[in-house]
Symmetry: D2
Subunit: 394 residues, 4 copies
């Protein structure tokens, strides 16, 4: 018996599809979340403050670059391990998982894939250990769902060594405390490149976004570039064009598809437990048909989401998962989690609106998760395009 673990539903014995290593990694993440995140996260959300004290723990469970090779400080794990770590973190809080997702898939991933060997050596180990925190600058105020329309740009500084970066990015997780930012901007020909911007560069500021009602335990902000001089050597050499940041989103969305299961599991587990203990009209409310309907449909949806994530993990590990397949899982699993959080909250009645239980915090967090890295509708249209061959974005 492992008294320090959450109950995690596994209605279709999916653990049998995992290796021993997978389970070890998952259980380690789960224990850490239970011990170091759960006790403090509600207050962090109430205070709207990212709990920086958990950064070393995140590093220790491999949450920063799970699949980055060990030579660069990463955990060197497979995609399913990455997914499982995200799942466990999001049982705790979607904001904490977001911090890890950004660090791993939006900062370390492009540096690993598209950076020079020098970039890799300079940045990846520090990002893996949490010594450096990173952010990812793609979204702009007027181009949320259409990143190709970005206006952030750079031109040659004329000094042979630098570029001059101008523009602004919005809705950037980790921005307020990031040490480095992987920023996507257009060169003078309008071609998109990734640029590593470092804190301290003149003209680079990261104002925090306040009064969020979602992901309050993570920090969100802007990235503002006013004639920032950046060394040309900070441009990622490996790939240009919109495909580069989109490939990062693929990796992040894959993690979200797993993470959302964690949030859903925690809501389900909490609601089930509550329903079994809460007595009304002389019996546990879990004995009433209307509550069983909610709970039975939750576990059904979780089971399907788990299968989707598992299958996608196998495909991705084999290098075969398409962006459209990832979109389907991101869209499905986050919506699943949102719906479960809402139903779970109702099961708790009045208790469901307090910070004594995690459900409403999950519910609020998931409103960001269903929107970021491709809104619910954008993923729909990605699938639609994939199956019909017709572009309906415009």
């Amino acid at each position: 018996m492992k008294p320090d673990l959450f109950e995690a539903p596994d209605y279709y014995n999916l653990d049998e599809l995992l290796t021993e290593e997978h389970k070890m990694i998952r259980d380690a993440a789960r224990s850490w979340v239970k011990r170091d995140v759960s006790p403090i996260i509600e207050q962090a959300a109430q205070d709207a403050k990212f709990p920086e004290s958990i950064i070393p723990g995140l590093a220790s469970i491999g949450a920063f670059g799970p699949y980055i090779p060990e030579e660069y400080g990463g955990a060197g794990l497979d995609q399913i391990s990455y997914g499982l770590i995200m799942q466990e973190i999001e049982r705790g809080d979607s904001g904490v998982r977001s911090t890890a997702s950004v660090q791993s898939s939006l900062v370390m991933y492009p540096i690993w894939k598209y950076g020079s060997e020098e970039h890799r050596k300079k940045f990846l180990p520090k990002l893996a250990s949490g010594e450096f925190m990173g952010s990812f600058g793609l979204t702009e105020p007027d181009h949320g769902s259409n990143p190709g329309g970005m206006t952030t740009n750079f031109k040659d500084a004329g000094d042979g060594e630098n570029i001059i970066l101008n523009g602004a990015k919005l809705w950037i997780s980790n921005s307020p405390f990031c040490d480095v930012a992987v920023v996507w901007a257009k060169n003078e020909e309008g071609r998109i490149h990734g640029v590593i911007v470092e804190r301290g560069m003149e003209g680079f500021s990261t104002p925090e976004t306040h009064n969020k009602w979602s992901l309050r335990a993570s920090a969100t902000g802007e990235l503002i570039f006013q004639d920032v001089k950046v060394p040309k050597s900070n441009i990622l050499p490996g790939r240009s064009g919109l495909g580069a940041p989109l490939s990062c989103l693929d990796s992040a969305r894959f993690g979200i598809a797993w993470g959302a299961i964690g949030a859903a599991m925690d809501c389900y587990d909490t609601a089930l437990r509550y329903a079994k203990e809460r007595i009304q009209f002389g019996k546990p409310i879990a004995a009433f048909q209307l509550q069983q309907k909610k709970l039975a449909e939750m576990i059904t949806e979780i089971t399907k989401a788990q299968l989707l994530a598992w299958r996608l993990g196998v495909l991705r590990e084999e290098g075969k998962a398409t962006s459209a397949q990832i979109s389907m899982a991101k869209r499905n699993n986050v919506e699943m989690a949102v719906k479960i959080a809402r139903e779970a909250r109702q099961i708790l009645g009045g208790m469901g609106i307090t910070g004594e239980y995690s459900i409403m915090r999950h519910m609020m967090n998931l409103e960001s998760v269903i929107t970021y890295e491709g809104t619910h509708d954008i993923h729909l249209l990605i699938t639609g395009l994939d199956i019909t061959g017709e572009n309906a974005f415009k």
Copy 2:
């Protein structure tokens, strides 16, 4: 042109069903909310603090006892006026509307209906002006949906003049700052009576409930009675039994059915405006089918909810509305508002999670509204009982 008013959808020309007085009362409430509530309410919610400064304003628009006769300080209005005032306040915030609902329907109403003439004269004018704030003690920790199971009780103090009250009530709006509480408790024969408890009575305390994620701009707390000595004359003489507090709930639920329309209107109005202004892929997102689907279904649902509320108002004014009819409108209209808030939030994308727009605050607030004064499922079973003749509560 009235530049200070919100846009309010009226797709089926329902204003034609209102009198000039109705519209005047509504517009006055609307203007006040726009001027005095909207600018401050978001910060109050962020700070989780009831803005006491608005109490006089609430009194001025007739929100404290709209239908209480003028001789007792009330506004002496009809039921539709009452509904319209609640609608307008909830455009601002469900928490503020809750404060008004409690004061009107759960404190002033029972004193008016079941109190002695002395009670009426002593308490109603002060409650109407907001000099006194009241709370309503029915719900107990173990008896949320089944108030008849309450254990709060009183016995004769043996001094010929007093009773001794013991017990605890939970989820009590206005409790932390209430001057008086109408408390429902069982006498020694187990019969439920209403008792007016006044702040300052020994053994009476009102600890606040913290860390709510809903109705943060209103104050919620407990009512705790430890051997509180209350004059026998504070017992409401007019009616005993569970029917008495339930009749108060009828009045409050009627107000909620209207109030929820206000929250929904504000979400719809905000989302529509945003969708018309927000450009993506070269056109306003309001021009995309997926967004039109959300918006068109919102206005359809709002229109039906308005008709339901209007018809119920006529019936109630005629003294013919049954509890079951009220349950239907409360259940339908609050769920309508919850769904609209959720969809509206998605239309705003990332902006939807910030305090810059009211939508997510409404969404969070409505989680309480769908739960209190009879949960969504309890109202379902009330309708179910009414139409089938079969009791499925147990």
Copy 3:
């Protein structure tokens, strides 16, 4: 007590909004449906055969031209009466209601509104009595949702008296037995005109559409025009352009919004009765929460649909109902009926798939009703356009 009437839900006492005449007309229609339609309609549907024997009855209850002035043989009733008659007929069968809708709103209405006095005198009395049956030719195979794209056309015959009509219309109710058809076709300038085509004109044929799984008790077919010589005097002089047939659709859709309530009522009434009688696990299934959820939500939706139809009736009677308002009611009420039919069918378990009960027939019929006279999505986009000002059809 009126033993020959169905039970009709009226949860919000809406009968009080009707006049005595309204109720008389409704009850007459109801009695006739109960007596003359219900006993034979199931077999007609099984046999996929329109029961022509009911034509005189339809005429007798005013179903052919309820609002056409008495001088032309119509019933001279108001719009709410028209709605109530449609409601009662559709309690029996949507196919029978369709027959009446077409006759009234798509044949008699345009002749009355846009025909010459001669047309009115020649056709309306016979159509009102059922001596003549009519059909309406607008939809074409390749232009279902976009009637303006029609290719049916006419040109001058060159004989000074006639036009030559060519083209084909599809999904035409009443076509196989119609005596006259109001056909919409483009003249040589591409302007749409209404033309009265009469059975027997050479080159005019009306092949029946077979193997329908919906509206099997009504006849559907094509209208085919191969060089049909039609007197110029058969052109409706009063209005040309797409607005003319669209105004007919407004009238028909208004009737459908009411009719759908009838189908829903019959499903609800049947399911409620069954649930109260059907014993499982020792009690009526109406006593189970899962069944109460279905039933309670049905009556809620019916009540709202009734209010919507009533309000629309008042507006239409006052000449103020817009096409967009009618679209909302058509879309809402038909979807409401479809959903209720589906849920009601489930309540009946295995019995729900047989012809012993009307529910599955209603469910199948409503699949046509949700599609014709503007599909569910087209009405959505009409509302969307109305509220956003953005055209999202294309």
Copy 4:
């Protein structure tokens, strides 16, 4: 290229989870359905007539006892093969799949599992070849969802050799033409036993149920026993109690979970093809967001259902699938298919109600499938009981 196959969606490359043999078996079934079932099935449904001519074909693809050992004439296949065969048949028609399900899981399975070696040798080969057709008598008129309440019973005939069987069974697939029936009845102690009743036994009749609107291409009827003398040797010796017939239902429900995917695939495939070809407003309707929403959500749901069925197949093959796990897949997958059929029908507009396309027939068929072998609500309560430990049936 295999021109004779349907298009079958496989969005998550699930074919990789199948063996070559699985795919061969599936493709054989698919080809046969395409060639021998699709061309005739619509007319059979219109005529409400089971097409007996397809019986040999069903036998040839292994549809009668796919997992029954070859020594008894079965196909000796694994559970996933069984599932795939059911899936392919139901692409054609749920009624045909029902015929096969009953024969395999409700007649051959209990004879194989609980019959004597003599029973097996006498009946199984003939059932496998289709020479004999079987039916399964469990459901009674007053005990649909509660089979334990059955009243069909037998007593000792007193002649040392026979029992006397009395009672009636309802909703029995294949009944009108069955050669044998496996009937569940109570002995004098009230213990349930399986009894093989053979056509020709005196007092045994099988009247057909007419006027069904669902599964019209399969035959349904009653089994009536009036003092039927049955040899004692026809009692299944291997197991008594309600668990015996329930284990048969497990096997049948497993097949339904797969079969429903087939119906859904056919609806999706048809709707997608139609949407790509149907031009409105100048482009294929597949290019409109509202249609993409329908299609994208269909393929998402199909993919999850496939994963659920696959995982359940593995578990069942390993002998580890619980009844509750099977209930989840039956409930989920049939509801998935019902919803997809309904949405697909809407995509086809008017064409969707005709027999020219298979969709509405599927939609009607699935109304039976969602009800039989455990209604949608019963499976919900099975899951509810499993996860909460609370029985909410009563």
